[in-house]
Amino acid sequence: MRVDMQLPVLAFTLLMAALMQDLIPATAAFPVKLVFLTAAALYAALTRPVWVALTAAVWAGGLTDALGGLPPLCTPLFLMLLYGAVRLLQRVFLEAGLLQGTLLTAAAAAAQWLWTRLWLHDGAAFFSLDSLKALGYTVPAGLLAGFAGFAFCGLIDRLSGLVTPVKEGHGILWAETDR
């Protein structure tokens, strides 16, 4: 594990994720945000050692709360719990592939929406039609964000040299080559 590249790569990917998530607005046709920060945190959960992944979760959650006007520790706690769930499911999600990342982020986006509403004591919103519609929108938003986020993070890892692609014939998962 090389701290000299882990830290700047992590900072850069989270900054880009925060920028994209902040710039792309929620519209009437799509009233939720694309959760690029959550996707970046999930990518770190699948490919990084435990302390790096937890730090990524805290930073991604902190940025989401700070830029979204949410109470402190709302999203960092969620992402840390999500990391624990991902590690428990590691035997299913063997590598940080695009498909796994996309599906995982879609599920995480819906769970994050529910968590945020609960944290804000907005329980009454669960039972309104508008809220159920918004919850439904979180799944395609998560799919988009997961696909783009995992693709971008994988690209940055390869460009920075943190991960070296391995031929499939070796039977070694590419995410395991540089732990």
Partner: protein, 284 residues
Amino acid sequence: MKQAKRWVWLLAASLGVLVFWHAGVGVFSREALYPYENAKVWLERTVWVRLQAVLSRARSAARASMLERDVARLRMALAETEALEAEVARLRALLDFSPPIPCRWQAAPVLSRGGTAAVWQSVRLAKGSLHGVRKGDPVVVPDGVVGRVVDVSPHTCETMLITDPNSRVACELETPGEGVGVVRGILYGGGARPAADPVLTLLYVVEPLRLRYLARDFEPPPRTRVVTSGLGPTYPKGLTVGYLLESSLESDGLSREAAVLPAVDMAALDEVFILTRQGGRHAR
């Protein structure tokens, strides 16, 4: 092992900063994104507008965009002048009234909407404490009131829109009628949702705002203009908030409640004006 220890310390420090210095994290995050968001605004205003002019084979597109901004600024100045004229006339009748506190309108482009969570109805503007913006400053466009500043960093500020459920604005009805006097109420933000009609799903239809605690005995006619009353600490008097749709008695029967359509299309905000005051409350 040594590197793992460093990450443990980094994680602990990050959690400590989030817990004990959350406000600073917000300021730092907004300032970190500001150069990129400002660059996007610059690209839209210079490169994109000129590209559109080239593609449309007309230089008038860029010129029209510049003229629209000039017209918006001039309309703001005109609205301020008209309000000043009315105030002068009133002061002449009252005589010993104190002079207004100096303040000025600052144009500010919109950087982003809704932040990263889209939980609150808010926009981020490219003006901050370095430009004299402070918490509580009202934000308007020529069409009407947009909201107020709720958080400020050196180069940016967060503005809560009047459509946010947490927004409250002290309002009154304009010229309600003879013998009625002034009819005042509190405007509650209603949030925003897509239209129920599927044909209009692409349009940004705002759920009407609620003007509560109106006098129960007066039924205001539809399309009555709702303006700020100037009684709260934030908005000066006379700014257009919206137009009344319909009214009904509240559930307890003690007052009347009305639905108000905001005068400003919040989804179409591109550039707004912040009223920055120089010491004390606003002039009007």
